[in-house]
């Protein structure tokens, strides 16, 4: 036998010792990932409801935006600045976060469901022997417990998960699923420097290669998304979708059906297997509304639905539904928008 490890599972801790909501703030090359601001928004709301404080935890290799995290809602920022956090390696990240949790005992810990969060947070949960829920899209408080709602079975259903007897309750949260909190320069908070100490690491990042796809970034940051689905009939249908998007200063999205048909690249896909978005305006054209698509867009502020089938599920989430042929309604909309612009 190569490795002999003694793993002991222990009794659940007394949950009342655990206080406070924590948000793990992910950074790459010193810039904070946008999901961190969404987590601060969600974390603030949960902390208020639990009548407790909100702390941000930031590991970085630069002296950076710890102050900003207070403006975004944190009461405390635990900041560890060390060269070891220049690259992402699971072991030092999980070990230091574990150490801090053991010391300060928060009741809730949130992290982004990004490749980084979903890789190292499970190690933290395993070491703490507590529960972890992946890729949550809704978080609520019920009798002091965190209700963690997540898609499962490929987005076909949602599950509500509880971690009643163990603390902390840890969740990774889907980027784009939560709204940012209110930014205010008037907020007061405390920055607590943390020393890295002696962190072991058996992996090493040899090189980092960036391959950012522009429209992917655009999709999650856009104020307006015009999305097309199978109802367009063919790839050419996306021409009018693009025209409408351009006119509204937005970007093009698509349902999985349209992507599977090969009409448009995968990086435009909205939904459980694509991107979760919450723009100000989402216009769904010829999309029937499979559950896995709805998960990805239903928190948009205004949802305009154009579909010729009055029974299409997508009308259930519509703020403004129009039953009609996409090829009649969209060109008419384009024409009238152009006229209105001239006026």
């Amino acid at each position: 036998m190569r490795t002999v490890v003694k793993v002991e599972r222990c009794r659940p801790p007394d949950t009342s010792e655990y206080k406070g909501v924590w948000v793990f703030v992910e950074q790459r090359d010193g810039s904070i990932s946008s999901v961190a601001y969404e987590l601060l928004g969600a974390g603030r709301r949960l902390a208020n409801e639990l009548k407790t404080h909100l702390s941000a935890v930031l590991f970085s290799s630069t002296e950076d935006e710890a102050e900003e995290l207070i403006n975004w809602g944190a009461d405390k920022v635990y900041h560890c600045s060390s060269p070891i956090f220049k690259d992402f390696n699971d072991e030092p990240y999980s070990q230091l976060l574990f150490n801090l949790i053991e010391l300060h005992k928060p009741e809730v810990v949130l992290a982004g469901a990004t490749p980084i969060g979903r890789s190292f947070i499970p190690r933290v949960a395993a070491r703490l022997k507590t529960g972890l829920t992946a890729d949550c899209t809704t978080l609520e408080i019920d009798k002091g417990n965190l209700l963690q709602i997540k898609p499962a079975f490929g987005g076909n259903i949602m599950a509500t998960i509880l971690c009643p007897d163990h603390r902390p309750q840890i969740a990774t949260v889907r980027p784009g699923a939560m709204k940012r909190g209110e930014y205010s320069l008037d907020r007061k908070g405390e920055i607590i420097p943390v020393s890295a100490g002696n962190l072991a690491c058996r992996t090493r990042v040899v090189a980092t290669i960036k391959e950012v796809s522009k429209c992917m970034v655009n999709l999650q940051e856009a104020d307006v998304i015009v999305a097309g689905g199978r109802g367009l009939g063919d790839a050419k249908g996306f021409k009018i979708i693009e025209e409408l998007a351009r006119l509204l200063g937005g970007v093009v999205g698509a349902s999985r059906a349209a992507v599977d048909e090969g009409w448009i690249p995968y990086n435009r896909q909205v939904g459980q297997t694509g991107k979760t978005v919450c723009p100000k305006v989402y216009i769904a054209c010829g999309i029937s509304g499979a559950a896995q698509h709805l998960v990805g867009m239903q928190s948009s502020d205004i949802i305009i639905v154009i579909n010729k089938n009055p029974d299409a599920t997508i009308f259930d989430v519509a703020t403004h539904g129009i039953v009609g042929d996409v090829y009649k309604v969209v060109p008419l909309l384009i024409k009238k928008l152009k006229e209105a612009k001239v006026e």
Binding site: A126, F153, G154, V205
Partner: protein, 257 residues
């Protein structure tokens, strides 16, 4: 090189329908398959064995019928299998599953452990990293390419949101893999014959040396409170009038934004 591949038998989620009356999954008639990501794990393990020699063992935790998944792995070419199965393991969440797998893996020899990125039923992607933590070995998640392996170390490409990292690790290591890694082979006729005759070794609670309180539902800190289908939101606000009038309202609405 001793390689362990952790696989899971899952319902084919593409066939799953929801009973909207009861908000439950209609599992009847839904076929069971090897979690698709795990096929890429098996392929990666076989390729390393072909290059460096050694043994590939596929393991799975599940009910007795999960044996089918192990036989399918044998038909692809793995050398041996273990079925980690006991009534006590039922209802396990990710922590409890990872702990159970860790206890079973401790009884085996390994240099590399492969897991699929995630299973398509739970979609958690947590079991791989949690197993690595319980075993106290490093892991690399979202592996899309294996660059180089020696008897001491491995170099891989790890997929991230904004590109990829080239990461080196000492062995033993656990890797979770994405679909870009390779194209899984189909079972050969000879493989199918071997699979038919193979003896599937079972490991129960006693064999892995765990206690009942630490496994299955009892060892699971998380509980599923309920499941529901997504059609909860029913705004369904429809515009009235003829198309022309409806479009006029839209134009106004879009301009007020």
């Amino acid at each position: 090189m001793n390689i362990i591949v952790c696989i899971k038998q899952v319902p084919n989620t593409e066939e799953i329908k929801i009973d909207t009356e009861t908000n439950t999954l209609m599992r009847e008639g839904v076929s069971s398959i090897i979690n698709p990501y795990d096929l890429h794990s098996i392929e990666a393990a076989l390729q390393i064995r072909e290059k460096m020699g050694g043994t590939v063992i596929a393991i799975t935790m599940g009910p007795p019928q999960a044996e089918d998944a192990l036989r399918a792995a044998i038909s692809m070419g793995v050398d041996d299998v273990r079925l980690i199965s006991d009534r006590a393991f039922a209802g396990a969440d990710t922590l409890s599953t990872s702990y159970t797998l860790c206890k079973a893996i401790e009884k085996l020899r390994y240099d590399i452990i492969f897991c699929g990125k995630q299973a398509i039923d739970g979609d958690t992607a947590q079991v791989g990293p949690e197993v690595a933590e319980f075993l106290n070995i490093p892991h690399i998640a979202y592996v899309k390419k294996i660059d180089n392996i020696t008897t001491e170390s491995i170099k891989v490409h790890r997929l991230l949101d904004d590109g990829y990292d080239v990461v080196e690790s000492s062995l033993p290591v656990l890797l979770t893999v994405v679909r870009e890694l390779n194209l899984p082979r189909l079972p050969s006729l000879k493989g199918k014959m071997t699979a038919k005759k193979a003896v599937v070794v079972k490991m129960d609670l006693n064999a892995i040396g765990a206690e009942e309180k630490d496994v299955g539902l009892k060892g699971s800190p998380t509980k599923v409170k309920d499941i529901f289908s997504i059609k909860a939101k029913t705004d369904r606000r429809m515009l009235q009038g003829n198309i022309e009038e409806q479009v006029d309202i839209l134009v106004q609405e879009l301009f007020s934004q």
